[in-house]
Every structure is written in structure tokens, then in C-alpha cells.
Subunit: 346 residues, 3 copies
């Protein structure tokens, strides 16, 4: 059957269910992108299931067969599944044949895992409708709880002399309770949603934030907010409290991004795609519609244009003239100086 | 006795006490506003207490009588009290005859519950002096702990091989550990205090914040800070990191509010009462004293006035001219355009 | 031996170790600055160790000897050590002979404790290289976990039907799990790192943040961010979301500070050392290089200079003229008015 040949992704995970038995969240310790024909076929054979789109609740017998099969081809995952199988919760298999709009909670969670495990980059997966599919849950010290069951659980905890700690009421969990990719620091994990892509070498400080389907492609210092859909290039620095406009807000259709080796100053803001080696000074918010006075190297005015006309252009410095109040843009002096130095070395 | 006829509110809850036996916080699962003569008299009769202002620590016998009485008139609450009665903690009855300045921790907590259960709107309850009445507590994974007992508890936990997680040291707990009203999302519950009023349909994102005696009256997207006393109208959007000046800070006597269907941009700020359908552009802070250049529809200057003169006026757009640096205000073009469209349909 | 005479500091604490037995974090309930010759010599005698720089893992016998010795000279600490000794974790003694760059995790933690216990003020201890010494750890509801052990622990928790809550992935823990100094409120403890110095009477609100080796010297209301190395004087108020530039960022060599009785407005920012009784208006970011129009009492222009030229000068008000867009600085009118009143009383 051809569908296994090009299976998009596959995950075997542990699911929480609500009192109606519906899957409300899934933990996949080892999501697989493009698992390949052999593995997919082998798993389907072990589970006696068709090699196609599905979310399969595994029976005890299926779990044993799966563990047995994987023991030879993917022993580490076999051990993980074996461990999860002791939890008393539901093990599931999720297969995505092709990357279309997800239809189930299990599929959405698999795609969010692919992003946070750095198997898929932001903006490369079809997540259309994901928001509506995910239920709002209470994320507590006793795990994920369906909203309609929450107040009873809160009362039961109080009655037992405890306080149920409700840390978040949201459609998305925090990433850190599912995976921490290698080589990152995240000072306050409440501020990074599952589905964020945090590049190796990235630090997200306490004031930083990263939404799902967004993130950093490499080393970065993030003390500002990376909104849904926003991608930040390698070597860039988002200052404390700075803002990037998300594709979900303001009805924007343009995807905001930050190039490589950029600096967005503290409390500044960005509303258009920023090229490489650009700087926005601290405290300045530049939206796509901000009128900008373009200056040459000698600070002579060239023209006035909207910031969106500078989308993707490299080596720009944005500042507000502290005496005229005009938003100005000029070629990044620091990198120019650097270039001059390099030339001098010739 | 006439006082039960107009009893302001009533709560039966579970109290934490410090080592001196003083009530330091109370959980009321079902606070009652204006409980009515019959219910109040019935409860007082069951408890053999006068129908007046009081905080009564219930004895085991009183608990049984109360449970028995409520079983017929308010069976769900009877079940809740029965459950709490098994906790080993102190059950209390709090009655507030009229809405005057609270005198005890139990009264303050009852009023904070009335707000967060959406029984009373912000700025409608007398909370004078509440701040001074509430003790600062350590809010931990082992519940509320009085400050003088904290270091001993921290050491005891370490000695037992655990770490006592002190999540907050504050007079107010986070709302989510007491109640989550229906139809809301709160991405990081550490940022919403008990006593916040979160309207149905409101999302408080990670960067959002809502203080006590403040909140949203309906659907809202809150990614900025709602300071103490500030009320946000239905359909409004507070952008990431935006600020509203609180009545507690700056000695302000004016109550800041946001009308319906407003948009305060990311990293912007507001220091005066904003009317309906107003916009403050991203990054612009408008205080009551900010001098604003008023423009007509054709961007012709009309006059310069302080922002407080525009308090409550609808359909305004506040922006900083990105070339002259002047803070300008003009009629909200978007809603004007909408009006024109509607007229064209006639 | 002379080194005990001037021992810089000493701590007896409980250490977490990774699977290789290396110390990864230490809790010192009672760090001692300048413990004095007698105490140091007594401890070393009880432990049969030299009175010099060292991190000593205490054996069971050493613990007993130490508890016995301290029972007479420091009975409260003896009781604490006795309690910690029951935890099954490693008790250690850390001695720092003189304040040089730390070489071990245990030394760095001792210095961070000295700061947060208010025994040493920020910027007075040698912390050179501390950042590189500290391992990045996962701070969880089950304690500190080494990164290489994290995914196994996450899986084990899921397998046991729990979720391991990873609250932070950082080199620094939050201060509140180690010490809460007297007389403070910290609304969201995730935002204050161990090594912060929080002065008595300081409130750190939800949006406030305090890095290590930074803090407030007295009463303060902190709703903005105190970056690494920044010191805030008594009586000052940092508005919601305001920013202070840190010595670690931007390659700055200048130490940013805020004087006494200052007000930095909400969403404002500071990039140079601010003198006493200064105000920066809400929403204005003043960096060291910002050109400022200096005004006299009658708002007459005097000169234009860079903000760094005003470093440390008292009684200044910084604002952006809301019509010309120019950043202006004039003598703080409020304090002038106050002075006039005082003179009138003569």
C-alpha cells in the first residue's frame, strides 16, 4: 500500500482522556518524521492496522506486540513504550499520511512535538484549525484536567487537605513538561508553549516568550516576545520586553520574521520582516506602516517611505531622532565600520 | 431581626490558620451574594448564631447541623461542605450584613471571591483597608504558610529530601487556585490575583496581568496589564506588554478604564479613561497630561489639548506622528470607514 | 594559621549531586560572612580540616562532630545541620579564605546566598566566571535535575502516572526556594534569581524582575526589570515593564544604577546611572547616548547633551515633548515645588 511509503510522521505516546474517554493531550517521547516504509509497515504489521492516517488506542496485546517488534529495530523507543505501558494510562499510535490540516487532538500534539523536537521548522507544517481542535485544559500539579471536571477536583483536593495548583488554563501546555531540546536555557518555562522551536544555543530569559509554530533557528538571546508564526534567525538578540507582531493578531497576513545577527532593543517592537544584521533601538516600535526617514551614510535625508518597503533589507539601523522625533533608518554603522576594517586589512 | 433581610453576602469556607490559630486565608467554593432572608435565617438557626456580621469557626456539631439544613435547600453546597469537613482544617461561616470596609481576613476573602465568581463587578464593593488587613503569606506547593513559619518549613522539607516550592510571597493568592470562572483562558495563572473579574470569553495571555478589583466585562484578549481598579469593556484587546495606570499608583484619584471594542497596541500605555472604539497605536504611552494635537478627518490641526480632556470620548485614534514626533488624535478611521459602508448599503 | 583570621565566608549546606557525584547546587540555611577566627578554628578542629579554601563533603562522623561543636556556640545552626543530616543528601562545608573569583559550584552558591541573605551588597563580591561554573539544571517539583538525566526522569514520571513539572531550565535557581529575606513581597517568585539582594520593604510585583548580583537597597516598588549588576536606591519606584540595561548585555562597561526616591515610569527604560530624586516619564527610553535638550526652570533651552553627561545628577525629570518629539530634561518640578513650600514655612 503506497501510503506507508511517504508517511509524513508517526508517534507512539501516552494520552490523557477526559471522563468521556476522549483524548485531551498526548505525550510522545520520540516523535518520528518521515519514518520510512520499513518501519511504518513493521509497526502496522505488529498492530494489525492499516498503514494510513489514524489515531489508534492500543490494547494490551497490541502494546506487547509493538514492544516486541520495536525491540529489534528501535530498542530505545521500545524501552520507552514499555515504561509508559506501566502507567495505567492509554497508549496510542498516531499516523499522519500527509501534511494536511489536522483533524484530531492527537494529530495536533504530534505536530507540536515535531516542532519542539526540532524535527520540523516553524511555518513548515499544516496547523490550520489546530487552535479550534485543542480543548482548553487546566494544567495542574496533578496533570491535565478537563475544564468540566476542574471544580470537583479542586474541592476534592481541598477536602484532602491539599491545594490543587492550577498553573495554566490554556489550549497549549508548556513545552518543558514534554521536551527540552538540547543546548537551551529557559528561565521561566511557563512562557514557552509546546510547538515552539527553540534552536540550539538559545536562551529564553524570564521576560522572553515563544508561542507555538514560532522560534529561533540557532543561537539567540530572547528576552522579548516571539509571537505565533514568527521566526528569528541565528545570532539574533531580542531585548527585554520587546514585541513582535504575530500573524494571529491584527488580522495580519504578512509573516513577521527577524533575520540573522539582529538586535531588537529592550521595549522596542517590530511589525514587518526584518533583514539580517538590523538593529531597532531600545523603546522604538516600528510597524509596517510607520513612515521612516531614510538617511545616507552622512545622515543626509534620502526619502520617506513606509517600513514595509524595507522588509528583508539587511544592515539597517532604526532609531527615533531624539531631538526631531522622526523615525529614521540608516545603514547599520557598526557593520559598516566592521566592513571598513576588513577592507583595511586587505 | 431586620439584618438578615438585607444581608449583603455570605460564605461557608475552609480556612487556613497560622500557629496562633488566626485565619490567614479562606476558600469559599460557593460564595453567596444577597442570599435572601430565608436562607440566611435558616443557616443562622442551624448554627444557633445571630444573623449579623460575623466570622464563625464552626464546631463539629455546627457542621453537621449546617450540612443537614442545606441538604434540602442547597444540596450541592451541602455536599461541598460535607467534603471540606473531612479535611481536618477549620470550616468557617462569614456573614457580611452590609458592604462596609472589611474588618477581617475572612471578610476580605469573601469579597475577593464575589469578584472572581463574577457575582460583583470591580469597583462595586467596599474594599477600603483590605490591603492592610491581608497578611503577606508564602504560597507554596504545600499550601499557604505564614511568613514567620516559612524558614522552618523550608528546612523541614529539605531535611525530608524535598524542596518546598515557594511560588509567591504576597498578600493575594492567584485566582486559579480558588476559582476559574466559565469560558476563560489564563495562560499563566501566576498573573491573575484572586479578586480579579475575568469576563466570559476573555483570554489572558502569558504577558497579560489582572490585579484584584479589576478586570474585563466580556470577551477580551488581554496581553497587557490591567492594574488594580481598572475595568476593560467588552470586545477590547490589550496588546502585549501594554500598561494601564492603576488607581493605587501615582496617587491617582481618577479611575482608569477602557471602553468597549478598543485596541491598545503592544507596549503602549494608558493613563486616562478611554472611550469606546478607541485605538492607541503600538508603543505609544498616553498619560492624562500628555498634550495631544487634535486632527480633523483631513488631518488638519484643530487644537492642542491634554489627553484627560478626551476621557470617555469614543472613536479616537491616538498615534505619534512618526516624522514630527507629535502625539496626535483623530477620529478612528476604521470605524468611520465602516459607517460609510453601512450607509452605502441603504 | 593566619587564613582563619580573615576568612571571607563560610557555609554548611545540603548539596545535590548528579549521577557522577558532582555538586550541582547547594542550600546553605545560614551562610556566614566573616565568621571570625574562633568559630572558623573551632569548626576546622571539629572536622579535622585545614582552615583554608575548601569544599568538604562531610562524612557521618564529621557531621556528628560538627553538630556537637556548634551546639554550644551556634545552637540554632547546630539544629539546622542536624535536621539536614537526616535527608540522605550530602552535607558539605564551604570555606572561602578571600574574595577571589570562585572556582566551584559550592563557592558560587555560597556567594549567591550571601547576597540574598543581605550579608553582602550587590557588586561587592567577586563573581568573575561564576556564570561559566554553574551548570544549567532543570528545576522541577522533584528538585534540581542534571540535564543529561532529565528525559529519563520525565519518562519515569509519566510511566508512574505523574508529570514531572520542569519549572525552569537555567543556571540560577529562583531565590525563594532558598531564602526569603524579612519584610519583602515577591508576587511571582519565578522572576527573582538566587543572588538577588531584595531590600527590606521592597515589593516585587508580577511584572518585576531581579537578576543576581543586583537589587534594591531599601524600600522599593519594583514592577520593572532590574538587570544583572543594577542597584536601586531606597525609596525608588520602577514602573510596570520598565527596563534597566544590564552590565552583561550590549557589552556595556558602565554600571547602571538608580538613585534614591526615583521614579521610572511604566514601559520606560534607563541606560545610564540615574541620580537621586529623578523621574523618567512613562514610555520613554533614555540610553546613555540619547541626546537630551536641557531646559531651565522656565523651559528655556540651555543646551543639548548626551544623557551620560547627566549620570548621577539629582532632581532631573526626563520626558519626551509630546508635540516636538524632543527628549527633554529639566529639574524635577515636584521636588522644586516641595523645596519652595519648605522655604515658605520659614
Amino acid at each position: 500500500m503506497s501510503s506507508t511509503a511517504n508517511l509524513h510522521s508517526l508517534g507512539i505516546g501516552l494520552a490523557s482522556t477526559n471522563s468521556a474517554g476522549e483524548v485531551i493531550e498526548v505525550f510522545y517521547p520520540r516523535p518520528l518524521l518521515a519514518p520510512g516504509t520499513n518501519l511504518s509497515a513493521g509497526i502496522c504489521s505488529a498492530l494489525s492496522c492499516p498503514p494510513t492516517d489514524q489515531v489508534l488506542k492500543l490494547s494490551a496485546a497490541q502494546c506487547q506486540n509493538l514492544i516486541g517488534y520495536l525491540d529489534t529495530v528501535l530498542p530505545e523507543h521500545s524501552a520507552e513504550i514499555s515504561a509508559m505501558n506501566q502507567s495505567g494510562k492509554q497508549l496510542i499510535l498516531t499516523m499522519i499520511a500527509e501534511d494536511k490540516a489536522p483533524g484530531t487532538v492527537a494529530e495536533v500534539y504530534l505536530k507540536l512535538h515535531l516542532l519542539s523536537h526540532r524535527l520540523s521548522k516553524p511555518q513548515t507544517l499544516n496547523l490550520q484549525g489546530a487552535f479550534a481542535i485543542l480543548p482548553t485544559l487546566a494544567w495542574t500539579n496533578e496533570g491535565a484536567i478537563a475544564m468540566q471536571e476542574l471544580s470537583a477536583r479542586q474541592l476534592a483536593a481541598r477536602a484532602a487537605g491539599r491545594t490543587l495548583q492550577v498553573n495554566s488554563v490554556d489550549k497549549f501546555p508548556r513545552m518543558s513538561d514534554y521536551v527540552i531540546p538540547a543546548g537551551v536555557r529557559i528561565a521561566d518555562t511557563a512562557r514557552v508553549r509546546l510547538g515552539a522551536y527553540i534552536g540550539e544555543g538559545t536562551t529564553v530569559m524570564h521576560e522572553g516568550f515563544v508561542n507555538f509554530n514560532a522560534g529561533t533557528l540557532g543561537t539567540a538571546m530572547i528576552e522579548g516576545r516571539i509571537s505565533a508564526g514568527v521566526i528569528v534567525g541565528d545570532g539574533s538578540d531580542l531585548g527585554g520586553g520587546c514585541s513582535t507582531m504575530g500573524t494571529l493578531s491584527g488580522g495580519g497576513t504578512e509573516i513577521i520574521s527577524v533575520g540573522e545577527n539582529c538586535l531588537i532593543g529592550a521595549n522596542a517592537g517590530l511589525g514587518f520582516p526584518l533583514g539580517d544584521r538590523c538593529i531597532i533601538e531600545a523603546g522604538l516600535y516600528v510597524t509596517a506602516g510607520t513612515k521612516v526617514l531614510l538617511l545616507d551614510r552622512d545622515d543626509k535625508p534620502i526619502s520617506i517611505l513606509k517600513a514595509r518597503a524595507l522588509a528583508g533589507k539587511p544592515d539597517l539601523l532604526f532609531r527615533r531622532n531624539s531631538q526631531t522625533g522622526a523615525v529614521e533608518c540608516k545603514t547599520n554603522q557598526t557593520s559598516m565600520a566592521l566592513n571598513t576594517e576588513l577592507h583595511n586589512n586587505n
